[in-house]
Amino acid sequence: MDPINAIVALLNFVIIPATAYGAQLALGALGVTLIYGILRFSNFAHGDTMAFGAMCTILVTWLFQGWGLSLGVLPTALLALPFGIAGTALLLIGTDRAVYRFYRKQKAAPVILVIVSMGVMFIMNGLVRFIIGVDDQNFLDGERFIISARTFREMTGLQEGLAFKTSQGLTIVTAVMVVAALFWFLNRTRTGKSMRAFSDNEDLALLSGINPEKVVTYTWIIVAGLATIAGVLYGLDKSFKPFTYFQLLLPIFASAIVGGLGSPLGAIAGGFVIAFSEITVTYAFKKVLGYLAPGGWEPDSLVQLLSTDYKFAVSFGILIIVLLFKPTGLFKGKSV
């Protein structure tokens, strides 16, 4: 019996990674849910928007690194982030003017907009591959660890190490700040209030003199910010590879739907639900149980419920359970 080591192992392998991953998913799902609430369609290009934002940031990061600019212990990517957001915002507003606005004017059915977003997805995907290629890009610099496993072991004298990566700490701090700012914006500012009014009841909002084009433009800018930050944080934490961003689409949509499409609070809750279940179900609990079990009862097998390759199955399973038993999601989204 060694509960302290068990807790440390659990923190190290499950809780910290899942919190960081959950924050990344939550930021992605917030973007999806905002577009759904205000533009009223599921944006399949969101994963590739994240990839584009991360790519812009990486390119600027390389430029800064070339100039010798850096933030010391923090990754240079933070300095490049505003430029990445600006680039992505320009692309999204341009896409809206060139593509989506036409269908909005026509009052096209949501499913047509979804198909249109498929076309946009192809183009963005092609664009990212065209500019930066399909390979892994590592752009993390600065200090790698806040606490490394070794320092922790020396500090506490425990057998189990606890590693806390800079990228994980950064993800959690940034996500909290972004979410706080977003909620402040939506609840306190005039533009934010008009966005919520537009999302709740479009006709009433139009009657009260809200300019729909302005609301839409602000939405795209906010979505660009959310998507770029989510993409960069994910890229710093794991690594940047265009194809993995496309695959993030499923957990992100699962998060948004589990929380309730159109509900920002739901998107955050959904992100953490999906992340924690994905990592818990695919983690091999042998070590943790080994510390907890009384002597001689340690498990022989890995005690892994599903192999990590099936992590999609986890988000999918949760999605199905929620859809079957609570179709509007945990936080009462708009959808039926």
């Binding site: 599921s42 593509v99 036409f102 949501p110 499913v111 047509i112 979804v114 198909i115 249109v116 498929m118 076309g119 946009v120 997805m121 192809f122 183009i123 963005m124 995907n125 092609g126 664009l127 591959r129 065209f130 500019i131 290629g133 399909v134 496309f246 695959q247 689409l249 499923l250 949509f253 699962a254 739907i257 499409l261 419920l305 192999s307 390759d309 099936y310 999609f312 199955a313 988000s315 999918f316 999605l319 199905i320 859809l323 079957l324 179709p327 959808s335 039926v336």
Partner: protein
Amino acid sequence: MTHQIRAIGMFVAVFGLIAITGQTSSWNVALGIINMGLISAIMALGVNMQWGYAGLFNIGVMGFVALGGLGAVIVSMPPVNEAWAAGGLRVLLALVVGAGTIIGAIMLWKRMDHGKARGLAIVVLLVAGFFLFRYIFDPAVDAIEAVNPAGTGYLGGLGLPILFAWPVGGVLAAGAAWIVGKTALGLRSDYLAIATLGIAEIIIAVLKNEDWLSRGVKNVVGVPRSPVPFEIDLQNMAGFVTTMRDWGFDPVIASSIVVKLCYATLFTAVLLLLIWASQMALNSPWGRMMRAIRDNEVAAEAMGKDVTGRHLQIFILGSAICGLAGAMMVTLDGQLTPGSYQPLRFTFLVWVMVIVGGSGNNWGAVLGGFLIWFLWVQVEPIGLWLMDTITAGMADGSALKAHLLESAAHMRLLTMGLILLLVLRFSPRGLIPER
């Protein structure tokens, strides 16, 4: 009448493009495009049934295609007897236990009264069933995969002729579609989309990781093609070689062209049969009901039509056709490579085919299949040529020139997206619109 002339003109144009490829590069390439074009056209027919007839948004085409491919392997590969002896029956038993657990849970949900007792019973059953499943399954899988892992390491198939595999592939895909449809149909259209996207990823994950079933990323190669001869056999036939020499062809090239022609004949027969059946269905009372449901679900329901039931029916039918196409594709390639299934290629590209061709029109879907496949193949050389032209004036060895030339391969996705958006904007009903 003008509709028909327009449609025929379109087909002539597309086949003209393919013929030009045959003339300028090689007939081997052109026939290759035609063969995959035929398979693409069948996939597009399946998606067109779901989207065009019924308005169902299925973006899990890749999963159904891959299941069809698995069907081809299960039916036609020779069985691995040692592997069966090592653990075949135990794996089957484990699968039965797994399925029984899920069915039991559903029964409990339906039979027991609402309350805590029901929830508890279901959780206990699922957990117990899961551990029993793993207890039987894991050692059996290890035993199977230990049998000659480099050569087989899987159960193999039934050793039946490959033509049986095509309908079996369809049935496998239909089974998966039934499960998805039962859970996700009747909810919003976006939810069906996400559910199908998820199931497709899961199917690919299963094919990649369950080595006992599909050899995973080690790929199954040498899938038999019994009715179609092998090139090498033709080249060894004295009669074939002399005839081709007499006609003035190189026997090696001629053999591969003959093989491709054989495939083309088989595939064309399947495609024609499917078009005939779909046209009959579309113009029957059933087809009219489907379109009525698509155009106004509420009104159709008020007329007493079982909307969810009909949706389930057509979802299964369309997915089965995709599965059939998947089995045909594995036959054509002679191998199952789970790693090569990519959603952009096998799901979204098929959607581009349907939308560009004309959703709701079977001939449109077929045309889209050929045209988009042709472009998918040809955009790369065209992109390369374009980049060569653009970079011609640049200094050799400049980084930009190298990058542009290297990136030409990624022109495909850009072009497909552009085509989709342009068609949606300027000809939203496709090249051959529904009448």
